[in-house]
Symmetry: C2
Subunit: 229 residues, 2 copies
Amino acid sequence: MPSIHTDKAFEQDLRDLRERLLAMGAKVETLIANSVRALTDRDSALAENVIKSDKDVNRLEVEIDDLCRRILALRQPAASDLRLITTALKIVTDLERIGDLAVNIAERSIDLSQVPPLAPYIDTPRLAEQAQQQVKKALDSFVSNDVVKAEEVLKGDDLLDALFLKIFNELLAYMMEDSKNIRRATALMFIAKHLERIGDHAMNVAEMVIYMVRGKDIRHPQSRNIPQE
Amino acid sequence: MPSIHTDKAFEQDLRDLRERLLAMGAKVETLIANSVRALTDRDSALAENVIKSDKDVNRLEVEIDDLCRRILALRQPAASDLRLITTALKIVTDLERIGDLAVNIAERSIDLSQVPPLAPYIDTPRLAEQAQQQVKKALDSFVSNDVVKAEEVLKGDDLLDALFLKIFNELLAYMMEDSKNIRRATALMFIAKHLERIGDHAMNVAEMVIYMVRGKDIRHPQSRNIPQE
């Protein structure tokens, strides 16, 4: 049976883990917001800053991975604690990928700032804000074991998909109208796609949280409901 | 000290894990190949089959995750064994995402099969084949602890990026030439992007393998080499 001392150390490890994940999440949210602000404000310096800051996200990934392995080795957690750590290992990968997507957006923003702007950015800032909120909510659901919040993230993804489709169709119309718009509209399409994919990562996190709390896997309901031929 | 019996059981667990990961990898490779064959052969039935088969990939993800957690709980591995299991937990997520990307390609293939074909598919089949090989090589490097092979994957990514850029520019030219090409060329661009992203997942796996074997993290060299301001 673990001693009280060990329990306390374990509790401290878990607090540490949650804090670092939240710090990484906050960093990633800032990258998303700044990458899109760099786009709309045509601010290459801000975009460069996003690209540079991604190294902080990467460092946090390495640190959190190490912390998870240390906890597994030293505390040998079982049941729900084990699920917590293995979930954290996966969440950290999603957060790192979100950072990469923000870097992709920043890189395209720099390209776009070299050419005259293509009319408005339509709903891109709104899509970015929505994606950012989904990431925040998903991570909050993890640190607070909150299934209801995680389910809100799953529901919220429809809005992101709808916004993406709206932006996609409007950009398509710009391209049809004038071939001079094509290159810039294509870049904006990829940016919108990156934001939609950030939303997918938030959804992945939320699904893992629901599994972690309930101990049942909801990630792929179709893999159980459909009989195997 | 663990008994010989426990060691043997642990060895069997690891063999089981490797076999399942290879099975999942093979499944995923087939999905990539078939999704692009569905595109070039305008074969919606094959595309539907890819979409349906993704549930097998998802089921394998859930099973391998469970196996990893069972090994962690029962065997309490340390050092390199612990790194192996935590790496497997992450690799499985990459493989599952590759399956999702193949589904996205299959879905777009169905849309494209409803309209007249847009000239040739340029290097798309070659990009797909290259992406598929990268996935196979990355996974092989994991099961055989082969750092040299993992490094080949990292080097191989340049070819994928070059192929993507070539396809992207050629599709852009089609769009400029005739606005009737825009919608179809856009769909093909997203397909090429999905394939390039599959290559990124293979690279992620290779980086994790190098870390697993060497015990040093190469994933983000810039997060150590650049001094923090």
